[in-house]
Amino acid sequence: MNRNLAAIYVLWLRAMKRFKRSPSQIIGSVAMPFLFLIFLGAGFSAVKFPGLPPDFSYIDFLVPGILGMSMLFAATTAGISLLWDRQFGFLKEVMVAPVSRLSIMLGRTFGGITTAFLQSLLLIIFALFIGFHIVSIAGLFVSFGFMLLIGLVFISIGLILASVITDMQGFGLILNLLIFPIFFLSGAIYPVSALPSFIRYVTYFNPLTYGVDGMRGALLGVSVFPVWTDAVVLGVTALVMLALGAYSFSKAKAVA
């Protein structure tokens, strides 16, 4: 087997084993989106947002947003795990391996995506119990595609930050400062059209906006942009972020 492919595979497999062995991590990462789903779903079920088609319940509207959130959080997990590996020395072992930095970065990214994807699947199952409807199976699979792209974009961002910032506190601070605006200004919990026009422009520069919109298009058949536009914008962003991620990872320090 090609060494670079082997490295990608091993790092992915490692992420899976660690995931399986730490139920607390699974619960911890799913808890926040889950609570948002429950509380927002219950709280806003009676509120009518302008621009929301009348035959959809708020839960239907909310679920794509929450899935976006769950994939967005993969940025934190991926970044922290890189910092952790550097702190506790395992990164040295990975970095002296005779494989390209790109394959190390990809291995970590795929590991993170798979983990976040499994967590999102759990959320979908929960959602079904509280009134979420899957309209079409094909749409479900398209939304999986969007979830993976969202994961690619934000895990890359997490790895870029963790390559540059070496202390945990600084990393946590900056990432939280990024993540919450990204989440709230993406149309995840209310339609972008409900925002004042000035802020609405900001949302157009937010990759998550296209991810959530694409998933709504795929799952509910309603979206602000055509689904293929969402896919192209998000796909291109993912490629750019991946390239940036690979670059900063190649410059990343192996020791603290």
């Binding site: 087997m1 090609n2 060494r3 082997a6 490295a7 595979y9 091993v10 497999l13 490692r14 084993k17 660690r18 062995r21 730490s22 590996d85 506790f88 020395g89 395992f90 040295k92 072992e93 970095m95 002296v96 391996a97 005779p98 494989v99 390209s100 320090k253 192996a254 020791v255």
Partner: protein, 332 residues
């Protein structure tokens, strides 16, 4: 034949602080080369530069014939390394740590199984291979790291204080294994250590490094000989005969110097065994009665003090603190 390691005027600076200040040395193929030095001397920094973990500031360094800055990937595939600080994934089992390493190095399935079994046997971890590393003791982790470093059958092996924190028995066991590998495969080994006996026992050549500079580099024997040499300790009956013998010794060419310590007279010579008969016959001719004679060989410890101005114990007191620190972080 290219050198296994070639280092010329290597400098590594952290900001304005130079941790390595222009060192040069070569390690020949099949040689065990030791880096002996007190805390903060620059041993780990050198290892990290040579293993492509950090970039050098200036100078030249080649490992297995490849430049450590330009041919990183080739260097990486030619080396094995045991880091000073922990480098295991403790949420994986011992076996998985080894297996993942072997997969990345492109070792096929059957070969992998066989080598891992051999290595586990060597470091006596066969029974604990299925346990998560977080449940390992500090010594078990160290042994696992050593097994992992050898798994990809490297051309050049780097060992950064490999036996730190191990009990004497395991230490000896591992040193013998390393020696054996070196003999069997002509494996070149670069080892850093605090333990003088260890360096003496295992190394073909030793560099003593202090404050980022190599202050001496030679075989253990030559390093020792460069000092005062051997001492023949001659025990005499009286002060008077002691003075008499000193006077007689001053005339002899084979005697480097003498030192009186009570009734013991230290006669420094190149080699004590061949000097003793001469000393005895001189004493006999001068009518001096000798009670007993003893041979004192200089130790590497003496060499270390000579070049660094410290005993290794001074530096060891600090390093024990550090070992405990490492162990704590390993225990985490």
């Amino acid at each position: 034949m290219a050198d296994s390691i070639y280092v010329s005027r290597l400098v590594k600076r952290y900001g304005s602080f130079a941790a390595v200040k222009g060192i040069s040395f070569r390690v020949k193929k099949g040689e065990i080369f030791g880096f002996l030095g007190p805390n903060g001397a620059g041993k780990t920094t050198t290892v990290h530069v040579l293993t492509t973990i950090i970039n050098k500031t200036s100078g030249q360094a080649k490992v297995a014939g490849f430049d450590v800055s330009k041919d990183k990937e080739k260097v990486r595939s030619a080396i094995g390394i045991v880091f000073q600080d922990p480098s295991l994934d403790d949420r994986l089992t011992g076996y998985e740590n080894l297996d993942f390493h072997a997969i990345i190095y492109g070792i096929g399935k059957d070969e992998r199984k066989k080598r891992i079994a051999d290595m586990l046997e060597m470091v006596e971890l066969t029974d604990s291979a299925g346990k998560l590393v977080e449940k390992y003791s500090g010594g078990m982790r160290r042994r696992l790291e050593i097994a992992r470093g050898l798994l990809n059958k490297p051309e050049v092996l780097f060992l950064d204080e490999p036996t730190i924190g191990l009990d004497a028995q395991t230490r000896r066991h591992i040193l013998d294994y390393i020696k054996n590998l070196n003999k069997k495969y002509k494996l070149s080994i670069f080892i850093t250590t605090h333990y003088i006996e260890e360096a003496d026992y295992i190394c073909n050549r030793i560099a003593i490094i202090d404050h980022g500079k190599i202050v001496a580099c030679d075989t253990p024997q030559n390093l020792k000989q460069k000092l005062e040499g051997d001492a023949a300790i001659v025990k005499l009956e009286s002060e008077e005969s002691s003075n008499k013998l000193i006077a007689a010794m001053k005339l002899e060419k084979f005697v480097k110097s003498t030192r009186k310590d009570g009734l013991n007279l230290y006669v420094y010579v190149k080699e004590a065994e061949s000097a003793i008969p001469k000393i005895m016959s001189i004493a006999y001719k001068a009518g001096i009665k000798v009670t007993s004679v003893e041979v004192h060989k200089p130790s590497l410890e003496d060499v270390f003090i000579y070049y660094t101005g410290r005993t290794i114990r001074d530096t060891e007191a600090e390093s024990n603190e550090r070992i405990r620190g490492i162990m704590r972080s390993r225990m985490r």
